[in-house]
């Protein structure tokens, strides 16, 4: 019996090793830039400042092409997010023009945004976004971090991965070289440059800083429940461990009746 347990563990280790190889093999690209993410790990939480700055980068830079159709303005004030005050969030919402309607005359009409409105999209539909971007669709960013291998680190790296194509490398028309993009050809130009935005909290807006802030913001946008999930997970597992221990001792006590009968 002992032997079969040993075998089983060996096989499990072998499987994990295989999965590991699998992941590595399917990611034959430059390894992503490493940085500390506050939301990683069991107690991981978002950095409020980072999220707020990230929101600023998104609105001032990304949002001219990329939508986040699943976020509502109210989300910006909710727990576990950038946690802007209600007043600030209302002002944010009102600064956008939302097309509502139809009204009693059957007309669509513009009005200032409300907390309950979804983020206003830069283009009315995918076709329009393609037409305006040389045939490339700037992906919706609602779950972008979860839709890319490497997640936040990938976006963080990609934003800093622009350079001139290596000598002899032939780029297609209207395409840029990026060492982190699968295939190294990306239709999105290098949008970030130092001091592109002016952070209201005084943080220096380096490319690295903006890339990190916006990657964090997009992680939250993809997973607004991350903090609640981590918090609940810790409690659940702690509870389970205590219960398991109690059940273990009860079980031993109970089964000792059987063994003592021998």
């Amino acid at each position: 019996m002992k032997n079969s347990y040993k075998n089983f563990f060996l096989i499990i280790i072998f499987t994990i090793f295989c999965l590991h190889l699998n992941l590595q093999a399917s990611e034959e690209r430059t390894s992503l830039i490493k940085t500390d993410w506050s939301f990683k790990g069991v107690f991981g939480k978002f950095d409020r400042g980072e999220l707020r700055r990230g929101y600023q980068v998104y609105t001032e830079v990304c949002s001219s092409c990329h939508s986040i159709s699943e976020l509502s303005y109210r989300n910006l004030s909710e727990k576990g997010g950038p946690e802007f005050s209600i007043e600030v969030t209302k002002n944010i919402a009102e600064s956008f023009e939302v097309i509502d309607g139809p009204n009693e005359d059957g007309e669509m009409f513009p009005r200032p945004g409300r907390l309950s409105d979804k983020f206003v999209k830069p283009y009315p539909n995918i076709q329009a976004s393609k037409a305006a971007n040389g045939g490339a669709y700037p992906p919706d960013m609602s779950v972008l971090v979860k839709a890319r291998k490497g997640g936040a680190a990938y976006i963080y790296s990609l934003l800093q991965g622009y350079s001139d194509a290596p000598e002899g490398y032939v780029l297609d028309d209207g395409v840029y070289y990026n060492k982190y993009m699968p295939g190294n050809q990306i239709k999105m130009p290098n949008v970030l440059s130092d001091d592109l935005v002016e952070y209201s909290d005084g943080t220096e807006a380096t490319v690295e800083q903006m890339a990190k802030d916006v990657s964090s913001f997009l992680t939250w946008a993809s997973e607004p429940s991350l903090e609640a999930r981590h918090k609940m997970g810790f409690k659940v597992i702690l509870y389970l461990i205590i219960l398991t221990t109690l059940v273990y001792f009860s079980m031993n006590r109970l089964w000792s009746r059987i063994e003592s009968k021998e």
């Binding site: 019996m1 096989i11 699998n22």
Partner: protein, 407 residues
């Protein structure tokens, strides 16, 4: 199984039980004599029941918020994740619950293979179990289509296209399955309907599975029949209940670890991209638990041959009780079978690994080798081993090895 009969303690109980013997059944379930030497590999039956009930409950609630429409399904999942109270928790439990369900079912099946639990007189338990397993795969596959992401769509396209390999009527069947000429809204709505239906069929079959189990009683690690009820068995409650509970809790700790801290680790990133019939993902892969069969499918050069091999790999499991010619149940007393068993485990894991790879070069070569070995294990090794193998002497009763002082 002989056991004490239920004696009603009151007139009402007697009246009720003589008309509908639910109390007798409850009594039987409580007192059910269970071999006392069951190890932890036997706790997965209870764990699987828990998994099924969890999937059904979370699934029912998710279905209240999900919209089965090609234009809205993807967004309705995000609606569940963001706007439904604890929707993220329900969805992550349900999505990862499927993986945990399969993890448990694979352990459960391999346990049966190791200890010969499929052999007489337990063939019916095994066959029902295999039907449950096949229904589980169908259910999981259709569930994976519902979020209408890229992998959902293309996975559905690849798998439903398999039926086109059937001569003459293949194309017609595929059109019928799709409800059109491509995977589209009609496909999604029927998959949703069936995904809701099948778990209840599984539930019914689980009842039959347990019923069939209670006729001969449990097999056990040494695979011999119970000689003396008082010495060899313990009543199901409380002994087995508390042991199953302990194992379930450990299982839950792992489950919770995945749900709360790495809920997307078993999923494919492409499934967070909305289905797009115009863009094919570079590499279409099914969920991990279907990978060994995917590898078998692709190991055969012809499409029809691949489909036959894939369904054949499941069918030979159903007839396994008659392929195994050995009289001895437990691998503990079968030194050669024990080795072949572990080779089979390795072979299936290898197939799973290869199923995730692009089938070319060495991957394809090993895929074919592993597929041939898989069939050889059941069709050649198992029947021959029964005649050739020298088994170890069996103990006379379950309590004997315990008395030997080894424990």
């Amino acid at each position: 199984m002989s056991e004490e009969k239920y004696i009603p303690k009151s007139k009402i109980a007697e009246w009720f039980d003589s008309r509908l013997p639910l109390l007798s059944m409850a009594h039987h379930l409580r007192e059910y004599p269970t071999p006392k030497n069951l190890n932890y590999w036997w706790t997965f039956g209870g764990i699987l029941t828990f998994c099924l009930i969890t999937q059904i409950i979370t699934g029912i609630v998710l279905a209240m918020h999900y919209v089965a429409h090609a234009d809205l399904a993807f967004e309705s999942i995000e609606h569940i994740m963001r706007d439904v109270n604890y929707g993220w928790l329900l969805r992550y439990i349900h999505a990862n619950g499927a993986s945990m369900f399969f993890l448990a079912v694979y352990i459960h099946i391999f346990r049966a293979l190791f200890y010969g639990s499929y052999k007489a007189p337990r063939e019916m338990i095994w066959i029902i179990g295999m039907i449950i397993y096949i229904l589980m795969m169908a259910t999981a596959f259709m569930g994976y289509v519902l979020p209408w992401g890229q992998m959902s769509f293309w996975g559905a396209t690849v798998i439903t296209n398999l039926f086109s390999a059937i001569p003459l009527v293949g194309e017609g069947i595929v059109t019928w399955l799709w409800g059109g000429f491509a995977v589209d809204n009609p496909t999604l709505t029927r998959f949703f309907s069936l995904h809701y239906l099948l778990p209840f069929l599984i539930f019914g079959l689980v009842i039959l599975h347990i019923w069939a189990l209670h006729i001969p009683g449990n097999n056990n690690p040494i695979g011999i029949d119970i000689k003396q009820r008082s010495k060899d068995t313990v009543p199901f409650s409380p002994y087995i209940v508390v042991k199953d509970l302990y194992a379930l809790l450990i299982f839950l700790i792992i489950f919770a670890g995945i749900v709360f801290f790495v809920p997307n680790i078993l999923g494919h990133t492409d499934n967070y991209i909305k289905a797009n019939p115009m863009v094919t993902p570079s590499h279409i892969v099914p969920e991990w638990y279907l990978l060994p069969f995917y590898a078998i499918l692709r190991a055969v050069p012809s499409k029809l041959g691949g489909v036959i091999a894939m369904f054949g790999s499941l069918f030979i499991l159903i007839i396994l009780p008659w392929l195994d010619t050995s009289k001895v149940r437990s691998a503990v007393f079968r030194p050669l079978y024990k080795i072949f068993f572990w080779i089979l485990v390795g072979d299936v894991l290898l197939l799973g690994y290869l199923g995730a790879m692009v089938p070319e070069g060495w991957y394809l070569f090993f895929g074919r080798l592993a597929t041939i070995y898989y069939f050889a294990h059941f069709l050649l090794i198992m029947p021959i081993l029964g005649f050739k193998e020298k088994t170890l002497p069996l103990p006379t009763s379950i309590s004997e090895p315990v008395l030997d002082g080894k424990n």
